[in-house]
Amino acid sequence: MMRKRKGYPVYPLTAAQKFHFFYQNFCPKKEVLNIGTSLTIGVDLDFEELKKAIYKAYERCDSMRLRFAHDKEGTYYQYVVDKEERDIEFVDFTEKTMEEAEEIMKEWTRVPFKRDDSPMNRIVMIKTPDGFQGIYLLVDHMTMDAQSLICFLKDIIELYCNAKYEGVPYPKDMASYIEQVQRDLAYEADSKAQAKDAEYFQKLIESSEPIYNGIDGPGALEAERKRSGNLNARAAINVSDSVDSALDIFHLEAEPTKRLMDFCEKYHVSLATLLLMGLRTYFQKMNGNDDVSINTAIARRATLKEKKSGGTRIHSFPFRTIISPDHTFLEGVYMIRDLQNEYFRHANYDPVAYFAYRSKLYPNPQGQTYEPMSLTYQPLTLKEKGLDKLGDIQYKTKWYPNGATTQAMYLTVMHRPEDNGLDFNFEHQVKAVSREKLEYLYYYLCRILFKGVENPDLSIGDIIKLV
């Protein structure tokens, strides 16, 4: 067992990290864990000052200085080095077109990290052809998630603004990453809380076997039943033999977004709840099943310490709802909200343990699943998180796909800070789900959502018929 590495204390991986590590091991493209993003603003930056702010932000964020190493048995550990010593690169794209610049940043996002004893991120200061300036940031998902990445970018901005502009306060300290890791590890080491969470999820899994619902109907499940000769089969394969992925983004304008947000405020539910209701109703419509399961991600950042500790904390679990079409839309929304609240109370449970228990109870051939897709709702944007310091200055954020995914379809819904609309980012395996299928899903998802928020007392069955 490893205790120290290069003079630094080492720690085991957390459940959230092991989950990423688990699927990376099965993926031929190791860049599957890369997250690439850029943030550019419409003013001339002082790049020397920006560089200082970046180094300072590295100093304040432990998980941006995280390293991995493995022992003789192949078990991976993590440790945090004292400081970031690499030079911060600078690339001027002004002689290129925007498309060329974005293509290069996409390429950067497709370069896997070495992993052992080496940095797990890359920062490049950039000038883009549209006259904007800022940074490109690439991180490994075992060290950061979208929320910690946004928090890190915000810190750079606040440090830069504090140095450049009078009256901008120095940002509050970040929180310790290792402290949170130790808390997670203590939970995993057979705590009472873990036993309680295991009991909750095991009872849920034991209630009955879920059923697979396809994006375009029951075809995949029927094919599986025919292939296996098992007319009661309930799981199907939805991934392809290639992990090559594409990112298709659908934009919902500000006005309809406001209507969804108004509904959420009026009925005291989150947008994630409403989105789950819309998606599960879509699958109910397409497959004729009341029983629908979708994977959902829980960010697990509630306290300020968790929010500011960096790292990766996401736990994903299948979210199964059985809602009869006789229920009203609003009743369905509340059923989802109540189940989400239960999940939130038990979200520290190890998702790998969840899947292992389910596979033991309902053994299916490898690769079969009950969940056609995953959903993540990202409520945080840079607008609330620091860029307000820049006043009316225009800025742009962009996420770059890494070109690989182990799942058939992964939807991330994010607020678009430029105009308060919503972006529906579908990352999907090119061979498993076509853009046409996504267009169809997005079209009906919107129809269901708006029919529901405008007529919350309409039954789900009627909504399915009407859209």
Binding site: A299, D338, R345
Partner: protein, 77 residues
């Protein structure tokens, strides 16, 4: 109870204690997400040694409503 609650609230969202009022709404005014709120219930259970029903608690909107609910739970013990 109100003061105790305010101290705990400040561990979850960036708000100064003097800006938390009885009528402050968790989501709209204090910036809580439903996950923040449910996690806070866990802390309150430990802190106050009570058992909170998340379905009941889902209807709480303001800090005063939360304080009243917790007082009621304590009284029922």
């Amino acid at each position: 109870m109100f003061e105790k609650l305010v101290n705990i609230i400040c561990n979850y969202v960036e708000v100064e204690p003097e800006n938390v009022h009885p009528e402050s709404r968790f989501m709209e005014d204090l910036g809580f997400t439903s996950f923040d709120f449910m996690s806070m219930l866990g802390e309150l259970e430990e802190e106050l040694d009570v058992e909170i029903d998340e379905h009941e608690a889902a209807n709480i909107r303001t800090v005063q409503e939360a304080a009243d609910y917790l007082e009621k739970l304590k009284a029922e013990e």
